[in-house]
Amino acid sequence: FHRLFILLVHAHFISKMAAVQDGQVDLEVEKKEIKTETSNDGSGNNNANSSSPGSTSLGATSKSPTGPAEDQQTLLAVLQFLKRNKLNESVDILRREAGLSVEIDDSPGSASGGAGSGGASNSTVDGGDTNSLLSRVSIAIPAAPAVTAAPVPPKGLDQPDVNVVLSAYSQQGDPDLYPLYYNGLKKFIESVLDCHRAELSQVFYPLFVHMYLELVYNNHEVEAKQFFEKFSGDQECYYAEDLRILSGMTKKEHMKGNETMLDFRTSKFVLRISRDSYQLLKRHLQERQNNQIWNIIQEHLYIDIFDGMPRSKSQIDAMSGSLAGEAKRDANKTKVFYGLLKEPEIEVPLDDEDEEAENEEGKPKKKKPKKDSMGSKSKKQDPNAPQQTRIPLPELKDSDKLDKIMNMKEAAKKIRLGSDNLPSICFYTFLNAYQGLTAVDITDDSSLIAGGFADSTVRVWSVTPKKLRRVKSAADLSNIDKESDDVLERIMDEKTASESKILYGHSGPVYGISFSPDRNYLLSSSEDGTVRLWSLQTFTCLVGYKGHNYPVWDTQFSPYGYYFVSGGHDRVARLWATDHYQPLRMFAGHLADVTCTRFHPNSNYVATGSADRTIRLWDVLNGNCVRILTGHKGPIHSLAFSPNGKFMASGATDGRVLLWDIGHGLMIGELKGHTDTIYALRFSRDGEILASGSMDNTVKLWDTLKAFDDVELDDFTAATGHIHLPENSQELLLGSYTTKSTPVIHLHFTRRNLLLAAGAYNP
């Protein structure tokens, strides 16, 4: 029993540490360390596969080779963590099991010990940042430390200790003075020059929250309520969601379990303020001897000071809105290799040449540039592209090559889209879904559609005349002539042919679904905390990946297959390989649920959108967070990379689509128009058009070519983040198409640029 707890803790522990070090900790999955027990049918034990040595292995990697002393130290660290997380019961159990005396872990230095162990583990991991798979990459490893050398905030400051964090509030002033303080500051800020006012106004919200929490923590319930009522109306409307949570929190006891609150404590709220404005504020507070506010600013805010012009209100509004303020400028400095990988050379078969010759008259201009670009790409490497072998990718199989050829053929017939040539939209409607359709995916070649449903089923439809067939049973397979040419045809059981198949296995609503690029597998993630891998040959479940202990909101296959990413309620995104039952990487850092996960087209990066209203871009190679993008005012529910890998679009519950430049880590566009959550975003095959589908029953098409052209990115804006968004996004709106009562939850461009949309009819 205690093992179970330890394992739970193990996962938490790592995630917490990872969170602290901005995702620098990699989970070690070295096989040798995982002495697998015969897996007990983990009822609710999601880590059933890894056994207790797993936790010791953590100690081993953190500290040094095994020894009794180290073991004890490890246990102490774990106990420390347990205590911090109020898992008192498990503390007791662990203590009993380990036979530790109470005194040991009550020793005063334990807190720092825990922190130290975190740090130690971090460095160890950095050095030997390998696992069984990635270690195959010989070239990539030297690159790793260089990347990880990215600025990391001083550890001491960020170490979260629940008690420490909360007790930070204990130094209290007179509760009656809080409104006075706040009002004083408000008056001051309202009186400063206009150019500074907008910047300084940013201080209001975090200050308000922390003052309120201080009041609550010190049991000044009545004052807290008064304070809240008096000033909550002043806060920006996009914080309404958080304010609602805060308003419910009126007791010290409430603070302990509340995750949102904890996040507020453990992470500093980041503000970007120009030097002038900051000086102004500082002078004011020092003149007034306003220590209360000054303390809060020093302890809970991170003020990122930049030299230059103060930003305008609209510029600030564009970037703010996340749970923990804006991203630090440092956070987005790392170079991101956003270029595409070189396409492997595939000899096009002879008969294809004939066809190309035919095409030559038909559409020479389409074929030519395609060829040219291919040729140039193969000659010189895109400077922004990662090295071909930066992360190991699966080798191409013959069938993949065939598919690639098909893809190229189709691409030759692709329609060039543009503002004057919009795509046709074909809508796949799910009838009789009874509000139960929760996820949809379409294969790249548009031959299969899969739907995830609230009743735990996954259904796969074939939308071509080719029916779905199962492979014959093993007994029947042995009777097949394996030498025959059509053996692939013969292994299929004709009796099972049908237009759709149902996959049973999950025990909760299926929230995420993704086809593998080769169409042999299907991934689904569910409320039951698992990600399942299904075979589309046998239509059975192959693996259940357990790791997220909470609902898994989204999952996606890498564009090259083999890897996949998942993210869920546990605030961690995990990178998996299909043949490993444990994650290869854990991307921790989000302050709230990871709501959507997307692979970069070159498979080297993963973008995650979160309910903390930020988007993070993670490096698959080393697990670092390389971009933090703020600006959304609601949980992010959709992400899309442009086909050239340079840009990203994101959609959130606030009904806005934001466009991002990945290289600079800057917002470059805001597309307003939707009135409800955007669940689907997709770039056309050439990236000229962005399609967005929303809960408001519309599909909108946006001119991204123009949006990207309009952006002028000089060094200055790149350095300071002074963005000038085009005022009116309506010019970019090419079309808006309404369904009657069908929310759009998936969009897909076929290889010929026909837009497919899917959703469930909602009577």
Binding site: Q235, P423, I425, L431, S446, E499, E527, T739, T742
Partner: protein, 615 residues
């Protein structure tokens, strides 16, 4: 700085009374007020927390409605046992009760007898999830590898749900500049549904006046295309059912609907011929169309349907669909069959002969001898059945009617009775006399050729007639002739020349049957067809047509004298439907309207002279 005021933050907490009530319900009697307050705050906070988590599940479930399952899932991630038994999709009704100074909302849990549940029949299994894509899209994008569901299913779905049309957005076609027309919905508006209901009911109902109005509406209304598929199905289904039941009246009504549809210039029937033609052909050649074949005049229906068929061949036959040749083949094949019944035989011949003189010449005339022998065998041979005899009789007169005019045109004089017998067998002598008559008729007509003939081509009710009247009054007044299928070929009493500068006295004669149906329609219908038919109907109909009402607004004393006298005669025909083929088969608007037409003409032409017209 401060944005617009938000609604007040929810600092609502549960009332302490609730705590007490709940405590009591689990057996805790005396709960301190303070504990209640503490509890209620705690509970309120937790409830809010759970609600916030539940919202996440709602968002990820892509719904706008929070469901009980979301709450369950939210409880689950908090490691709390979910609430069982609240799986209802609908809202859960809370009941309210008060008493003892206490107000309670509670969820009523009824005691259910298990056997009741077991014994009640199972509810219908809900429909399974299905995937649907619009068909048209896939046609437009034929290169796409997309073929979703069977066409049948789709059709059904789109009608039932109206979904196919609405959920798909047709956009500018991919291939470039051609923009596809926005797809029309398959769904009828409520008004249209009402209209459709009214029209179809009137068309097959018992009230002749209503029917005439309905048919008039079908024939003229420009906005019917959305209902066309429904009408077409209505007709084809109606024929299918009523042929089996031998409901002659309904078949006639349905054929009149077809006629009205064909007359509507805004409708394009091409797409629905596959439904309409079988229905029409059925009415031509079916073995039995009525309950009493010996009494009922189903021949008129066959004639009428044959005329419809001929009209649609003329209008819609193209080199690609080959309607005319396919129809001709069908008729010929069953005509040639020895075992074919007289009724069907009649239909085939009628159908063929309506297709025009060329068809008669090449297909019917060569077979006159054989057919004559067959008729002879029935009429002069041993008594078989009365029905056969009537059938043979009708076939004979039909053949005579159609062939005579053709032969009159093609066969050189003289008309020798014996020569005819040699050439045409049994029918020869009778044919000879008909030909002679036809020639006389042609000669008569030839005399009238110099007159301008007001031929009303559209069998379009009173309005058309009055319009033509107006038209005449605008330009130089032309003497007109309205031909009637009967021997009473109506013509202006005073034929004049078209170039006459001042309008001469013109006499319009409008006929109506007293049965509430006017023969105006019929007059026009036939006058638009070949002239030969006019003469040939004489035999059957002439005797029965007796003018009942003769209305002459002659003199017109009120006229200033500058305008010459105009006369209007309204002639009513007797109501014996079976006595006149045409009165049965024609489109029959109510007499009132035809009278009205007369009045209209009067008004337009000579105001003041209309006072006598009884209406």
């Amino acid at each position: 700085m401060a944005e617009e005021r938000r609604p007040k933050q929810c600092t609502v907490v549960l009332p302490t009374e609730s705590m007490k009530a709940m405590a009591e319900s689990i057996g805790v009697g005396q709960l301190q007020e303070e504990s209640c307050a503490a509890l209620s705050e705690e509970v309120s906070y937790r409830i809010k927390e759970i609600a916030q988590d539940a919202l996440k599940f709602m968002h990820h479930g892509k719904r706008r409605k929070l469901m009980t399952s979301d709450i369950d899932h939210a409880l689950k991630i908090k490691n709390v046992e979910p609430l069982y038994g609240f799986q209802s999709q609908e809202f859960i009704p809370f009941r309210f009760a008060s008493g003892g100074g206490r107000e309670l909302h509670f969820y009523e849990e009824k005691e259910v007898d298990l056997s009741d549940i077991i014994n009640t029949p199972l509810p219908r299994v809900p429909l399974d999830v299905s995937l649907k894509a619009p068909k048209e899209q896939q046609k437009a994008e034929s290169t796409e590898p997309l073929k979703a569901v069977k066409p049948g299913q789709e059709e059904e779905g789109s009608i039932q749900k109206g979904q196919g049309a609405t959920s798909a957005e047709a956009k500018g076609k991919k291939e470039g500049l051609i923009r596809m027309k926005p797809r029309s919905t398959h769904e009828l508006s409520v008004e249209q549904q009402l209209y459709y209901k009214e029209i179809t009911e009137a068309c097959v109902g018992s009230c002749e006046a209503k029917r005439a109005e309905a048919l008039q509406s079908i024939a003229t209304d420009p906005g019917l295309y959305q209902m066309l598929p429904r009408f077409s199905t209505f007709i084809s289904e109606g024929v299918r059912v009523n042929v089996v039941q031998n409901n002659l009246a309904l078949l006639i009504y349905l054929m009149r609907m077809v006629k009205a549809l064909m007359d509507n210039p805004t409708l394009y029937l091409e797409k629905y011929l596959h439904e309409l033609i079988p229905a029409v052909v059925t009415c031509i050649v079916s073995k039995q169309l009525c309950l009493r074949p010996d009494v009922d005049n189903h021949w008129a229906l066959r004639d009428f349907a044959a005329r419809l068929m001929a009209q649609s061949c003329k209008t819609f036959s193209t080199t690609t669909n080959n309607i005319q040749s396919r129809i001709t083949k069908t008729f010929t094949k069953s005509w040639l069959d020895e075992k074919t019944q007289w009724t069907t035989r009649y239909g085939c011949i009628a159908g063929l002969s309506e297709l025009g003189p060329d068809v008669i010449k090449t297909l019917i005339i060569p077979r006159l001898t054989i057919e004559g022998a067959r008729i002879k065998a029935v009429i002069e041979g041993p008594v078989v059945s009365n029905i056969d005899k009537i059938g043979a009789d009708h076939v004979q007169s039909l053949l005579l009617k159609h062939c005579a005019s053709v032969i009159a045109k093609t066969r050189p004089l003289p008309d020798n009775m014996e020569q005819y017998r040699v050439d045409y067998g049994y029918l020869g002598p009778m044919l000879c006399s008909h030909v002679v008559k036809a020639r006389a008729q042609a000669a008569l007509q030839a005399q009238q050729v110099n007159r301008t003939t007001l031929t009303i081509t559209q069998p379009r009710s009173t309005l058309t007639v009055s319009q033509s009247g107006i038209g005449g009054s605008v330009g130089s007044r032309t003497p007109s002739i309205i031909k009637v299928p009967s021997s009473l070929t109506l013509m202006s009493t005073r034929p004049g020349t078209p170039t006459q500068p001042s309008p001469p006295a013109t006499k319009y004669i409008v006929m109506a049957t007293s049965a509430g149906a006017s023969s105006t329609q019929q007059v026009i219908t036939l006058s638009s067809s070949s002239a030969s038919s006019v003469t040939s109907t004489v035999a059957s109909a002439a005797s029965t047509l007796q003018p009942l009402v003769k209305l002459e607004s002659g003199g017109g004393g009120s006229l200033g004298g500058s305008r010459p006298l105009q006369k209007y005669i309204v002639v009513s025909l007797p109501s014996s439907a079976s006595s006149s083929l045409e009165s049965k088969s024609g489109m029959l608007p109510p007499s009132s309207s035809s009278l009205e037409a007369g009045m209209k003409m009067e008004r337009s032409d000579s105001p003041g002279a209309s006072t006598q017209s009884p209406h």
